[in-house]
Symmetry: C2
Subunit: 228 residues, 2 copies
Amino acid sequence: MNVRPLTKTSNERSDATRRRLIDAGMELFGVNGFDATTTRALADAAGANLAAIPYHFGGKDGLYRAVAQAVIDGLNDQMGSFLDSVQREMDAGVGSPHQAMALIERLMADFAEVVLQRPEADNWVCFVMREQMQPTEAFSILYDSPIKRMRDLFSKLLSHVSGLEPDHVRIKLTGIELLGLVYVFRVARASTLREMGWQTINEAAYAEVRTVILESTRLILRGLQAKN
Amino acid sequence: MNVRPLTKTSNERSDATRRRLIDAGMELFGVNGFDATTTRALADAAGANLAAIPYHFGGKDGLYRAVAQAVIDGLNDQMGSFLDSVQREMDAGVGSPHQAMALIERLMADFAEVVLQRPEADNWVCFVMREQMQPTEAFSILYDSPIKRMRDLFSKLLSHVSGLEPDHVRIKLTGIELLGLVYVFRVARASTLREMGWQTINEAAYAEVRTVILESTRLILRGLQAKN
DNA sequence: CCTAACAATTCATACGTTTGTATTATGCGT
DNA sequence: ACGCATAATACAAACGTATGAATTGTTAGG
């Protein structure tokens, strides 16, 4: 019944085991889902003993929650800097719709880079998508993520572009739509690869995808601006 | 070892059992995935006996494949008519880019209706998305679906709009992008509801979503047209 | 029209595996 | 030598499937 006894002296070895288990969980839970991932597979992948899971996390569920938290942390690592950057520029004052559009395009480019190019994303994107489709108790952890920060930034910036209020229905839905422009190439990756005749989304392929995403973004933004 | 003995006289009772098991599989596999769905849960939901699964489908895998096929059939039922309709009009000759744009908008509206409004969609959308993220052997069954037909229609129509070849990279990616405009509201439904403060995507909410989807579609199409 | 015989299906149950976790013992640093 | 972390093993529960009996539906002989 002894779960993470919180020793004063931070034990490096146990921290390493926890981290390895979380890494393994990110990979296996993300790819195969909760039920399809066995504790034995997790322990093997982490190079840890089977009993380390109940010991460190109280059980399989606890490890899953820890992985969810690690996903958030990873998102913060990968998205925090450019979110902060845009936030700062926004706080300094958005002079024109054109400036707001430029910031949104930057957000989209950086987000696409993270979601479609970073190899680490392979794991957490699937993890998050699975929680979207069938939320567990871990969904609340994931909801307050950098992605929500990004949606909020979108709302404010889109407000500058369109002249509508940031919490206007149209604005919020458009923000979700923009994220969808990126998500679709990850979620429907299997179909995309097959349709395009690609083996992977390599450098050249990503360049094409990125172009289309940014082009569509620009068009949607320009349309939103022209309207009001 | 006797699997579906193919009696001359079609047995109503066994057909009904198969159908109930497939319906239960559509629901449970779709929502919870393959591993999280137990044969006992399937049998209970179908009001059938446990042994009916190996008997009629050869096992859990066989039932899963049968459900995948049923998903295709359902898609054909729900999308076949408007796909045929657009196909006919296209074959009759697309006179102007404007006409092609109108057809694409019709496709998008009908597709959104099916994906976001039909209650039956709740099951198969999750089923398909799961196969997208982690394709099993059933993916091949699903790939040759009405959705591929729709992508092909998009390619041809987008070709008319833009002047580019139907198999041009930009064209195909734009087709995927358009589908993403619809998918995102289903896949990221949990976040959408939470973000919008909605309980469900009811009539009024759907009207807003539909407006945004069609607006974005129009903007992307117009941009594609203006470019060449 | 009835009914016995047969095949097809459903059912209750049992079996071997695999699952997650508990238990106990061993290693290791302070 | 003491406490924490790891390791090997054991165990109850749940899993998918196999098995044989019971039930249902169909068909042929009277």
